[in-house]
Symmetry: C2
Subunit: 330 residues, 2 copies
């Protein structure tokens, strides 16, 4: 039976939403147990006694806060995130979920759990919504700010394997984010990366920013600097459109009547773009599944992050990444 | 009186929308004359005779098409875009508007008109809508795919001067696009650029993708590769939200009723995000105003591009760019 380690204290709202999400996951899926790392008294109060046989609690009261530096976190061996990740390192757990300090989670996972053979740098992948009934996996979205062509090639391989093994997409298509679709487009790094990625099957070539939301491909590859800008731009545009609609609504009673009638539509829309639906972002390239959840995760997001961890841990993800990196590297 | 040169043939829809836009501009503003470059017979048929005293027509029938290469365009001295740009080089016109091949327009403008002293690379700037009653000027959005810190510094200076001299913004705030607001964020190039841009007044530091649409700053600086991705991402998200709304609408009669009532709201929204409102994108850093309009420009967009050209030509833009580059370069 799979064992999932959880940093129960690291989120922005303390242990309550994390444990609520864990309880929901335990109820929906009988095939795993959990190790919750955090304040024993607090956690015991939050977990119903009939579930305590499926949750081991490891006590510690040091929590890395969002304002701490990631390097600091490497030294604080008693912190919830350090302990949760080390449970995977020692083999006591199969995967780890953290809604805590994402920089600390990444650094600790990379240094304590270690990289898969052939991976130069682990990458964070996230799902973006499209207008179709599918999502686009984008990586890297923050772990690596300066990337070379080899890094991007590794991201392409890791993203494609994750899409197949965990997201269950048959022969996932991979695109390289660029400033135009033609092969001649790109900056120095992406032009070199294009050649390397051309060796893997189902490479769709260059794609544009708009393709991420069209669902033209299943996986989009970029460096972490651009990935962050893409994410923030998407959030910003969605937010701005919402605000403009609201502003215009205030101007007429008829529009307000219309808005009331359209409430259901907007509710559906929210579900489509809600990060909670996807859970967390997997850190690909480390030797065990690490799911980095949003600091503001609600119970639904934590539940889905736990399911992501389970799906990753029960797949052949990391072996396949290692095998394909070996096969397609020159 | 200002003279504006216009490539009358280069747009995707031929001379009709270009000339209609020119006619609209001539009617609204009596203080300029135009030189239209293109097929004399066609153009004379499109321009009402009472306006012919304000429009000189220079005949040529070679047009660079969108599928031609920019380098090809440098050799075709009889093309509309080559001739229109050379009118500025020779001093016969004060500014030029082109809805033709944008790569050709950029290359010709840079090589034939020449760069302002102190400018290493000209940049294309564009206005992005925000939820507030203002827009954000973003540059570079395509001219320069690989940029160093000095290039980004020059973009910051040029953007700030354009915002002040042409957009009439008092003390415009400049932000550097990065993967976080903290000074420690950035890739190698932006971290170095941060130091250089720090020398100019009203530098707001690093900004995120979402800030472009919040209106947190007046000018956002990035390289042309990222600028293109930002633009396409914004278009893609807006488009996808529209499609999701439409799809959901189909599902219920009540929503359709709501949508009808909200039509006015969506119409307002469209105006806010419509590129035609802004006209074209100025190519900053060349010795005369060059406005690059969208290939699919409608008459309104051309009219506004002409007004942009007039506003640039009657400002102190290029002298101020030269002076400030000299003052703030170390």
């Amino acid at each position: 039976m799979l064992k999932i380690a959880i940093d129960a204290m690291g989120g922005d709202f303390g242990p309550q939403p994390i444990i609520d999400g864990l309880i929901a996951a335990l109820k929906l899926n009988n095939n795993f147990t959990a190790i919750a790392v955090g304040d024993k008294t607090q956690l015991e109060n939050l977990i119903p006694s009939y579930l305590l046989n499926r949750v081991e609690i490891i006590h510690t009261d040091d929590v890395i806060s969002m304002s701490d530096s990631a390097t600091d976190a490497l030294k604080r061996k008693e912190s919830t995130i350090y302990k949760a990740i080390d449970l995977v390192k020692t083999g006591e757990a199969d995967a780890v979920v953290s809604a805590g300090h994402s920089g600390a989670s990444m650094s600790l996972a990379t240094l304590r759990i270690g990289r898969i053979k052939g991976v130069t740098r682990p990458a964070i992948a996230t799902l973006m919504p499209t207008s179709e009934n599918q999502n686009t996996l984008v990586l890297d979205v923050g772990a690596n700010v300066d990337c070379d062509a080899k890094n991007l090639f590794e991201f392409a391989v890791m993203g494609q394997v994750y899409a197949r093994d965990v997201l269950q997409i048959d022969e996932p298509l991979v695109g390289l984010l660029s400033n135009g679709e033609e092969e001649s487009k790109g900056n120095e790094v992406t032009k070199e990366a294009f050649k390397l990625i051309s060796k893997i099957p189902n490479f769709a070539g260059n794609v544009e920013g708009s393709d991420v939301f069209k669902g033209s491909v299943d996986v989009v590859v970029c460096d972490g600097f651009i990935g962050n800008i893409l994410l923030k731009t998407a959030e910003g545009v969605a937010d701005t459109i919402g605000k403009i609609i609201k502003k215009n609504l205030k101007r007429s009673l008829i529009s307000i009547a219309g808005a009331v009638l359209m409430r259901k539509v907007f509710k559906n829309l929210k579900v489509r773009v809600d990060y909670a639906e996807y859970g967390g972002a997997p850190l690909l390239g480390v030797k065990a599944p690490v799911i980095i959840a949003h600091g503001k995760s609600n119970p639904k997001a934590i539940q889905n992050a736990i399911f992501q961890a389970i799906n990753s841990a029960s797949s052949n993800l990391n072996n396949d990444i290692e095998e394909r990196l070996k096969r397609f590297s020159s």
